[in-house]
């Protein structure tokens, strides 16, 4: 259970968002850094960390009392899908509850922006993953002026109240911004266009968002600053290096689950009695 016996401190402390303080966090240069680990060490720890995460998830599932919600945000190509594949892909698929949020449907638009989010919350015992989230309603909505400032500027408070409620109901929220640099996004878009098995992931509209990079970063900075609560903390994970991104998200989940410390439940039956009953049925062939 204790996996903290190493010289580095908790990754959650290291990567907790510190809006306004730029050395590592939201600036362009931070995206390619790899604080706390080098590639060889991350690779060496990978298999062990995957198993630790798998075991913690099984305990969360068995306990059947609480949930985790991992909110993934980031610019196009920042690796939201890749993180789900490589980090969440390590745990039991039956304990995972993934929901993605694209452009709202006409029905969704007839409701408050949190309506579709509430419906997508993970049930207890699950690790829920939001691939994009309610934060789009203060990111793309703001940058592309899909709603007036009078509307989106009130949403930070609404989000904090919502997240407080979710957290109080037994769902631990972990919000991660996958931070890539403008330069790295350019390389990844080119790579997509050069590989025909990746064309389906390319959307010409992504270049429009790319042109508004600084506006997006300002919107991220605000969202993270205004909604970086104890009940629902933001982490900024440098994501130019995919191996670092996967290592860091895994560690953040592990530290979160270790703190929750889910337990196998006490049996609701008499174990010795059931063992005796079962032993009586042991036979090569079923009873007639």
């Amino acid at each position: 259970m204790a996996t903290r016996s190493r010289s580095r401190g908790p990754v959650r402390e290291m990567l907790r968002a510190r809006p306004g303080k730029r050395p590592l966090n939201l600036d362009e240069r931070g995206a390619s850094k790899t604080p706390g680990v080098n590639k060889a060490t991350a690779a060496a720890e990978g298999a062990r960390d995957a198993k630790i995460l798998r075991d913690l998830q099984e305990r969360l599932y068995a306990e059947d009392r609480r949930a985790v919600l991992l909110v993934l945000q980031g610019m196009d190509t920042s690796g939201k899908d890749g993180t789900i594949t490589h980090v969440i892909g390590n745990v039991d698929p039956q304990g995972v509850h993934i929901r993605g949020f694209g452009k709202p449907t006409p029905e969704e638009l007839r409701h408050d922006f949190l309506w579709r989010i509430r419906r997508a919350l993970p049930p207890k015992r699950f690790i829920g993953i939001f691939n994009r989230s309610h934060y789009e309603d203060v990111l793309v909505v703001r940058v592309k002026r899909l709603a007036p400032k009078s509307v989106w500027s009130k949403r930070y408070d609404a989000i904090n109240a919502f997240e407080r409620e979710v957290s109080a109901s037994g769902t631990t929220i972990v919000k991660i911004c996958l931070r890539i640099s403008y330069a790295e996004q350019g390389e990844r878009l080119l790579a997509r266009l050069r590989d025909r098995t990746k064309w389906w992931k390319f959307n010409p509209a992504d270049l429009g968002d790319r042109a508004r990079w600084r506006e997006y970063m300002a919107a991220y900075e605000d969202a993270i600053a205004k909604c970086n609560t104890e009940a629902a903390p933001w982490y900024v994970v440098p994501s130019d290096k995919k191996w670092y991104r996967d290592w860091a998200v895994t560690r953040i989940l592990i530290e979160t689950l270790e703190e929750m410390d889910p337990r196998y439940p006490e049996p609701q039956f008499d174990v010795a009695e059931e063992l005796a009953r079962t032993k009586k049925t042991i036979a090569k062939t079923p009873p007639r």
Copy 2:
């Protein structure tokens, strides 16, 4: 794409249910057999098969036109959960749509037995997994007399019509019965009771089903015989050996997907033009 270059024939042909013909299929002795492969070969093929399945799933997802529905049935401890962990755990969790069916809720009971099933069908591009299914309505319902024969006996035709409709709508159905022996189930129940991290999986009521083993087998035999259509074939996978079960289910899924042959879609944009547009944006820092 072609991975059929081996001496054995298709696993689907080998394990296709043959009700009434007992040498391999539904009898007790069949459960521990390992037709078509030995343990060493299955282990050697495991990593390669996992990658083949992952690639096929990505093509299904990218194609965005069709779906697969894997129906898993089997007695308690037959390995439905384990199959999902070890087979489905190898593909991208974002392309997987898992639904389990327990005792119907009061709301579900106010509807036709297929109501909750229809709502749980995978959307196109997904591999859906049913952990138990509408077959419970001709298995447990029949064995425990939860409905009169006049009700459950009409359901085979209803199931066939339903599955025909699902198949015609673009969802390829694969139904797998995980066949364990009565003796093996006894061992697995004892193992659960001897490991406190497994107690949460044990339900004393399972022993009641175990006592009705022959009735269940008769109900399975009927369900498989009556609903073993070309549109929705049944496979019987000997599952006393977990390594065999995982190998066989993986091969059945691979063969099914290879026959479907999903293709990456043609791009909905001019690739050269987008490449040129993207190249123009390449820079170390974002535009002001």
